[in-house]
């Protein structure tokens, strides 16, 4: 997004990605373009601020998600540990029992 010099005048263009190509989309010149440019320059800041302000629902969701992920990971780890201690091992992501390991 920015000003581009074409001949003697400056024009305001917006860059848009279309697959692997980047297109320049004409937005305008003169006062209106200056206003748009000013708004555009402050919008990432506003966007970042809005993103940092999480809603209470969002905070709740993330809290529950974090606790659940932590517990699930731990259970998964303890399961792997129990299988390994019982004489199993993974072969191509499949649990197999080692040969000559008697059940205790």
């Amino acid at each position: 997004m920015g000003w581009e010099q074409r001949g003697n005048n400056s024009y305001y263009y917006k860059k848009e990605r279309d697959g692997s190509r980047v297109k320049s989309v004409y937005l305008g010149r003169g006062e209106v373009a200056h206003m748009v440019a000013q708004l555009q320059s402050s919008s990432p800041l506003l966007e970042r601020f809005a993103r940092s302000m999480k809603s209470p629902d969002e905070i709740k969701f993330e809290k529950a998600e974090a606790a659940l992920n932590q517990a699930s990971d731990l259970i998964e780890l303890i399961t792997e540990a129990s299988l390994l201690a019982a004489g199993f091992h993974t072969h191509k992501r499949q649990w197999r029992r080692k040969r000559n390991v008697g059940s205790c």
């Binding site: 932590q70 731990l74 303890i78 129990s82 059940s103």
Partner: protein, 185 residues
């Protein structure tokens, strides 16, 4: 539950996780050192194992409370979730199952609950006019919840299948004052 208690549970869970990860990296290979396998077995079945299993159980219980308390809805709905979760655990054979299976049942039931909550929220969001970004965001949340539920069920089924002929996997924690015992079915 106070924030200090929540933080201490989270910190302890992280500590246990790190300990396990370290030992698992050493043991989950073709020819692990016998001393590493012995250390892992000691961690699971040794003198300090009771504390370890308690930590894992408290992490699972904390997760259950966090999911239910932070779910949308009034208190009555949350109470219904709690009861449904308990009945689902019983349907999956929680009572009388070895401790490892109990944990996996708890995980599967909780993942089911989380999936149900996310599905409800997803359908509520999709009824409104939303942006594409928000739609993708909810799709991802739903996919993650579905993946977690599938993985929990698969792990439970795998452990049940493998433990059929492996009594070492069917250990239980004895009640107060007792010793840990292995129970073969």
């Amino acid at each position: 539950m106070s924030e200090a208690v929540e933080e201490s549970i989270a910190a302890k869970t992280e500590q246990t996780r790190a300990k396990f990860r370290e030992l698992l990296d050493k043991t989950n290979k073709g020819n692990p050192q016998p001393k590493d396998v012995a250390a892992l077995a000691e961690l699971l079945n040794g003198n300090k194992s009771l504390e370890l299993w308690r930590d894992v159980l408290s992490a699972a219980q904390y997760a259950e409370r966090a999911v239910i308390e932070n779910s949308p809805g009034v208190h009555g709905v949350k109470e219904c979730w709690r009861l449904r979760l308990a009945s689902l655990r019983n349907e999956l054979g929680y009572v009388g199952a070895p401790i490892l299976e109990q944990l996996l049942i708890q995980d599967a039931a909780l993942s089911w609950l989380k999936l149900s909550i996310v599905e409800l929220q997803y359908s509520h969001v999709m009824k409104q006019s939303i942006t594409l970004t928000l739609g993708i965001f909810w799709e991802k949340r739903l996919s993650a919840a579905q993946r977690r539920f599938t993985r929990a069920c698969e792990t439970l089924a795998r452990v049940r299948k493998l433990s059929r002929n492996t009594p070492a996997l069917q250990f239980n924690i004895a009640t107060a004052g007792g010793q840990q015992v292995n129970v073969a079915k």
